[in-house]
Subunit: 345 residues, 2 copies
Amino acid sequence: MKRPKSRVTSFDVAALARVSQSAVSRAFTPGSSIAEETKSKVIEAARKLNYVPNFIASSLTTKRSNIIALILGNLANPFYVHVLDAFSRRLQEQGRQVLTFTVEPGAESDDAIMRVLRYQVDGVILTAAQLSTRMIGICHDRGIPIVLFNRYIPGSDASGVRCDNSAGGRLMAEAFLRAGAKSFAMITGDPRGTTSQDRVRGFVERLLEAGVRRGDIEEASGHSSYDGGVEAALRLFGDGSKPRPDALFGINDIMAMGAMDVLRHRLGLRIPEDMMLAGFDGIPEAGRLPYQLTSVSQPIDLMVDETLAILHLDEPPRPIERGIDRPICGSLIWRATIPGPRVLE
Amino acid sequence: MKRPKSRVTSFDVAALARVSQSAVSRAFTPGSSIAEETKSKVIEAARKLNYVPNFIASSLTTKRSNIIALILGNLANPFYVHVLDAFSRRLQEQGRQVLTFTVEPGAESDDAIMRVLRYQVDGVILTAAQLSTRMIGICHDRGIPIVLFNRYIPGSDASGVRCDNSAGGRLMAEAFLRAGAKSFAMITGDPRGTTSQDRVRGFVERLLEAGVRRGDIEEASGHSSYDGGVEAALRLFGDGSKPRPDALFGINDIMAMGAMDVLRHRLGLRIPEDMMLAGFDGIPEAGRLPYQLTSVSQPIDLMVDETLAILHLDEPPRPIERGIDRPICGSLIWRATIPGPRVLE
């Protein structure tokens, strides 16, 4: 076995590139100011010498590790795979990397945050539904910026970026009503998550305004996964004991896709002729040929940009921005699962 | 704005728990030996004090950061989402985390590895097709274990874990032949990746043995994504100028799913009556009701275990294990897209 070679240092690179050592440091620091020509010289010298800066060692003095923690609750929902992909690419362009943490549906949220704190991360992006307000306090006390993605915590001063889920739910109720639907069912997600709560609230509010009674809106939880959507649809409609509603709202696309497959392939229903259907999120998977699901799209790229802006990664440490909660409007994607005119006034 | 509070140290935790400081350290070190009762005392004291060990600071002395780099080429293929999920969960159980790196299809592989080396990772798991042998040398020289997942580099001494892709390709050819197929087409993946090459080789070899001529096997590349599978199927069959083959082999499930949707919903074909179809990987998505795709399953959990075993994360630094390449057998999952008897001799 070869012994590890003695490592090349930034001094060696500076000497070969004929620049200062500080220039070498700046060439490898995301967001720092350096002339393009100087940077090229450094990169070329570093390549020749196989030099790689050690972000971990330098983080002890700079207090920047260039690592961002992304806490994921549910990769069974492709929406979060697209979110991971978008954050990964955007942060990599900036010279940063994503440290992923997955939280099991039933897991203690405090444990997840404690695990995150072991790694001196520059910021935390939280997409999981479970998180205690206490833990946000701990992050804030330690000066670690944290942004809630696609959720918020009522009464907390944590900043968040999300789609206006309640408005999206209203939009979908409106679309069903215009298409002539009179009876309704919902497949809901995690009841502890504001995302599911808000979509349900907006949807139901609009239906109540139209004279539908709350008790007449059937619902089942689908745990925000394809299989959960399948099971919820079977619980709702599998035994055929009750009259089928005109319209079904899956509060996210992946559950609506599971429900759709059951309605067609198990229960022999036509969509939208026998039942209208809609989802939420606008994931590309729901636009595939067998689905063509009408949905509300979440603008992931915009939401990612907003999240990174709140983290202020390129600036010197500064007071954490608290209490930011700017809901971004989603837009209706008309596809094939709601019939009729495709305009809402 | 509150100033960050002065941080609690391991001394404070040791004092409260009435244990030695070394016990506190061991309680937070994955794989270290400590009595369950002592560990509980430490964890309880740490909770009370909001103490969190800093893996990054301690990594400078222990040379362990508890960070494993996972280099992903393609999240557009759900197989790799399942791989990420499996590594994340398994490593988290051990007290470690995954630092994800995504490599764009056309990107320089050296850049990716140089980015990885900036973070003092304990090991590298590489799932992307692109990687130069030179970079494996650099990892080895620095004492960083690297394992290729689901691929290998011919002529290199890098260790890898993979499914026996060539045997799987043969298995699928055999299944088509037994079902009476006489003419064949393939949708291939990244031509630089050994995974696609080996599946194609095994498939074609078996067909040649059965008297099929190589020139009669149509093929198109589908870039290992759903959309790529859609486009490849349209290129192969869209204009109807050539006679359709009896059987189509998508060398991974996600491309086979794209092709299947085009064959049915654009070209009006019945599967398997008008064309048989098969994929590879055994992703759960391909077993959903509209697809019911016959496939070869890759045993992800077993492959993840093997990969972690080669990395030797729980042991003191040791010579890197080189040249390990143990292909694991995949198994045929019979579903609805190949007709006939479901046994191969």
